[in-house]
Subunit: 437 residues, 2 copies
C-alpha cells in the first residue's frame, strides 16, 4: 500500500466519522444546537491566548517566507478580530433554524399524509485560503444547520486553524454535539482527496480568489456553492436620471472595488452618452478610477484609453471601468447576457416599462433598478448570514443564507396503504387536500 | 475545418436561437402560454395521419433490424396513444404557472424593495431512448415553464420524433411562442455535443435506462435531473404489524417491479424474523418473486437461494427480492444509508418513536412509514406532472414537478440608493421589513 493510499483511507475514515456525527447533529433541537454554539464561543474565548499565539507564529512564518502584505493582512487574527468572530457565532445562534420547516403538508388520501420537510445536507467540505476566521463562521453555520463540516485551510494558516478547531471541539465536547462533527485537514494533498469524496461530502464551499474557486469547480463532482467571476454591469438608459446615474456608477465601482458585486463595465445609451459621460467621467476619475472606452466613448472622452475586446470579459477587482455606448436597451441586455457572469446587473432609468423588460430579460441572480449593485449581499438582504454567492442557474442562486445548507425530504405516513388499491378502473382516488403547514 | 467542427458550430447556432426564443417565451403571460399549448394540441391532432405513418416506418425498421420486443413496444405510437399524449398536453395547460411566484418580498429601507421571483431556467436539454411520446410531454412542460427545449431522441424513433416536432412547431407558429423554442437534434454524435453546451443549456433531463442516465451524468458539467439507480428498502421493525408488512412488501415489490421505486431488499428485525418470514415468503413466492436470503434468513427459509454481497447493491428491476435479518433499527438505518440510492425507503412499525427515528436518520428523498414505496411519484403526490425523480442531495429532490424547471432571481428596485449611505459609524440602518408575498 502506498503512502497516498494510506492517506486516502484515513480521510475516508474521517469523512465517515463526520457523517455519523452529522446524522445525530441533524436531529438535535434548535435549543440544543444554540447551546452548543454558546459553548463553542466560550471555549474560543478561553483559548484566546493559545489562538493568538498560534496566529503570531503563522504570521511570522509568512513574513519569513516573503508572503505578500495583503495576504498577510488577511491571515492576521488578533484579539479584537477574534472577539468579533466569537460575537458572530453568538449571532448565528440567534438566527432562525433552517431545519424542520414544513414546506408542504398534504393529505393524499384518508390516513395517508405527505409532508416535505427541510433537513441538513449532511457533510460540508469547506476549502479556504488564508483567512483563519472563516473556520469560526463556517463551523457555526454548519452546527446551526445540522451539518458536519470538514475544513481545509491554507498551509500558511495551519497553526491558527489547528488552535481554532481544537477550541471548537473542546467546546462541543461539553454539549450534545459530537466533536467529530467538525474536522480539520492539515495535509496539503488532502484538497484533491476531499474533492473526490462525493460519497461522503454533499456540498463544497470554497472561500478564496477567483482562480482558486475555478480550480475547485473544475476538480469535483460534488456541488459547489460559489462563484469564480463577478463581471457586473450598470446600464444607463436613454431615460436615466443624470444625478442617480453618477451616484450609482460611483458607488457600484468604488465603494469596494475588490468585491464581486462591483461593476466592471458601464453601458450607456447613445442618446445620452454625450451629455452624461463627461459628468460620470469627472466623478469617477476624481475617485481614482481609470476609464477605458469603446470608439464612440473615446470620441466623447478623448483623453481615456481605448477598450479592447478583452475588457468586456475582465473582472478588474480594481479601480478600472470599461465603458461602451449601446444603440438600444436590447443591445445592452444582449451584451450583459453574453459577457456578464450572472451575478448582479443594474439599470438606471425613469421608465418603468424599460426597467421591467431589463429585469425580466437579463439573466442574472440579481437584477437591479435605480440602485447600486453593491447591495447584493446576504446581510444587506437581511439573511443574517451569507454562506456564499452562487452564480449557477439552479437554486440556491445569488446571495445564499443558511437555507443554502439544507435540503428536504418527502415523508409519507400511512396505515398500511398500498398503491394497488389506487390502480385500475375501480381504483380509489387520491384526495390531494392541502393541510396547513 | 473538420466535419465535427461544422456540426458543433451548427449546434451552437441552434442553441443560440433556442436561447433567444426562450428569452421571449419566459416573459409571456400564463394565458398566452396556455393558448400556445392548445394550438400545439390542435396541430398534433391535425397531423395524426403523418405522425402515425412515421411511427409505423420506425417500428418496421426496428423489426427489420431485430430490435427486441419490449423496446419495440415502447417505440410504438398508435392513434390511441397519441390521443392520450395530446390530452396530456391540455392537462399541462391546466397546471399552475410555476413562473412569477414571489417567494420573498422585503423592504430593505424606505423605497428600496427586494423581491425573489421565480423565473424559467432558460434552455432544457432532453435526451431520451425510444419512447417518442416523451417529445410531447417534455415540450409541453417546457412551454408551460417558459423554457426553450432541445430534444434528442434515439435513432430508432427518428421519423416519429421528426413528425411530432414538425407538428409542434407548426402549432407554435400560429401563437406568440417562437417555434425556435422547440428543437430536435437528429444526428447521432449530437448527444455528446449537447452535453458540452454548458454555456447554452441550463438543465439536462435524461429519460431512459439506468446505464443511459449514468452515461449522461458522467459526461456533462450541466446539472442533470434524474437518477441512475433505484435501490429501495423495506424495513420490518420488531414492532411491525404482520398483515401490513405482508401487504406493503407485496405491493412495494410486485405492483410494478421495473419501477425505480420498487423495493430490492427487505430488512427484517431478528425478533420477528422467524414469525414473519414464512408468511411474507409464501405471499411473495405466490406472486412469482424469487427470494435470496442472508444466512439467518436461509435458516428460517431453507428452500431459498443464499444472497451474496452483490445482492445488497443490485437493482433487479425484476421479480427478485433479497432479504436480510438485522439486529436493530440502527443496523437497518446503517444498511440503508450504505446501500440505498437515496430514492425511497420505508419502515413498517407500530411504534411512532421508532418510525420517527427512521424518518429522521435515513438519508433518502422519500422516507415512508407504514405504506408502500410505490407511492413515490409526482402524480400520486398531486403535482399534476412529473418532470423526473432526482436522487441528488440538493433540491430539487425526489419527485420533481414543474417547479423543477424554474429558478429565481433577486430583484432590487430603488430610487438612487447607494451602499455608501449605509456604511461607516453614521451609516443608515436597513429596515428589513417583510411585506406580503
Amino acid at each position: 500500500m502506498t503512502n497516498l493510499q494510506v492517506r486516502a483511507e484515513a480521510l475516508t475514515e474521517i469523512a465517515h466519522k463526520t457523517r455519523q456525527a452529522a446524522l445525530k447533529l441533524g436531529n438535535l433541537t434548535t435549543e440544543t444546537k444554540n447551546q452548543a454554539l454558546k459553548a463553542v464561543a466560550e471555549a474560543l474565548t478561553a483559548a484566546t491566548p493559545e489562538i493568538v499565539a498560534a496566529n503570531i507564529a503563522d504570521c511570522q512564518a509568512a513574513e519569513t517566507a516573503g508572503v505578500a502584505k495583503p495576504l498577510r493582512d488577511r491571515l492576521k487574527l488578533d484579539e479584537t478580530k477574534l472577539q468579533g468572530a466569537i460575537a458572530g457565532i453568538l449571532d448565528v445562534a440567534k438566527l432562525d433554524d433552517p431545519v424542520g420547516a414544513v414546506q408542504m403538508h398534504r393529505e393524499l388520501d384518508a390516513g395517508l399524509i405527505l409532508k416535505r420537510i427541510t433537513c441538513p445536507l449532511g457533510v460540508l467540505g469547506v476549502v479556504f485560503e488564508s483567512r483563519p476566521d472563516a473556520v469560526m463562521q463556517i463551523a457555526s453555520l454548519a452546527i446551526k444547520s445540522g451539518n458536519g463540516v470538514i475544513l481545509k485551510g491554507g498551509k500558511e494558516a495551519i497553526h491558527s486553524c489547528t488552535a481554532l478547531v481544537k477550541a471548537i471541539r473542546q467546546g462541543l465536547a461539553t454539549t450534545e454535539v459530537d466533536p467529530e462533527a467538525v474536522q480539520l485537514l492539515t495535509t496539503r494533498g488532502e484538497i484533491l482527496e476531499l474533492l473526490n469524496l462525493d460519497k461522503y461530502v454533499d456540498l463544497i464551499i470554497p472561500r478564496g480568489s477567483n482562480s482558486f474557486v475555478r480550480f475547485i469547480q473544475e476538480n469535483t463532482k460534488i456541488p459547489v456553492l460559489g462563484h469564480a467571476d463577478g463581471i457586473c454591469h450598470l446600464y444607463a438608459d436613454k431615460e436615466a436620471d443624470l444625478a442617480k446615474t453618477v451616484a450609482i456608477a460611483l458607488d457600484s465601482k468604488t465603494q469596494y472595488p475588490a468585491a464581486c458585486n462591483a461593476i466592471e463595465t458601464l453601458l450607456i445609451h447613445r442618446d445620452i452618452a454625450a451629455q452624461f459621460l463627461p459628468a460620470i467621467a469627472a466623478t469617477l476619475q476624481q475617485a481614482g478610477v481609470e476609464l477605458r472606452g469603446d470608439a464612440p466613448t473615446c470620441q466623447i472622452l478623448p483623453e481615456i484609453h481605448p477598450a479592447t475586446p478583452s475588457d468586456w470579459e475582465t473582472e478588474y477587482t480594481d479601480l478600472i471601468l470599461s465603458i461602451k455606448v449601446v444603440e438600444s436597451l436590447e443591445e445592452a441586455i444582449s451584451h450583459i447576457n453574453q459577457y456578464g457572469s450572472r451575478h448582479t446587473e443594474a439599470i438606471v432609468t425613469e421608465n418603468p416599462d424599460t426597467a421591467n423588460l431589463f429585469l425580466a430579460e437579463v439573466d442574472a441572480a440579481g437584477v437591479y433598478h435605480n440602485c447600486s449593485t453593491r447591495f447584493a449581499d446576504g446581510f444587506r438582504y437581511g439573511f443574517g448570514a451569507e454562506v456564499g454567492i452562487s452564480t449557477q442557474k439552479m437554486p440556491p442562486r445569488g446571495s445564499v443564507g443558511l437555507e443554502g445548507l439544507v435540503t428536504y425530504k418527502y415523508q409519507v405516513v400511512g396505515n398500511g396503504h398500498i398503491v394497488a388499491d389506487y390502480s385500475g378502473s375501480n381504483g380509489k382516488s387520491f384526495t390531494h387536500r392541502d393541510l396547513s403547514t
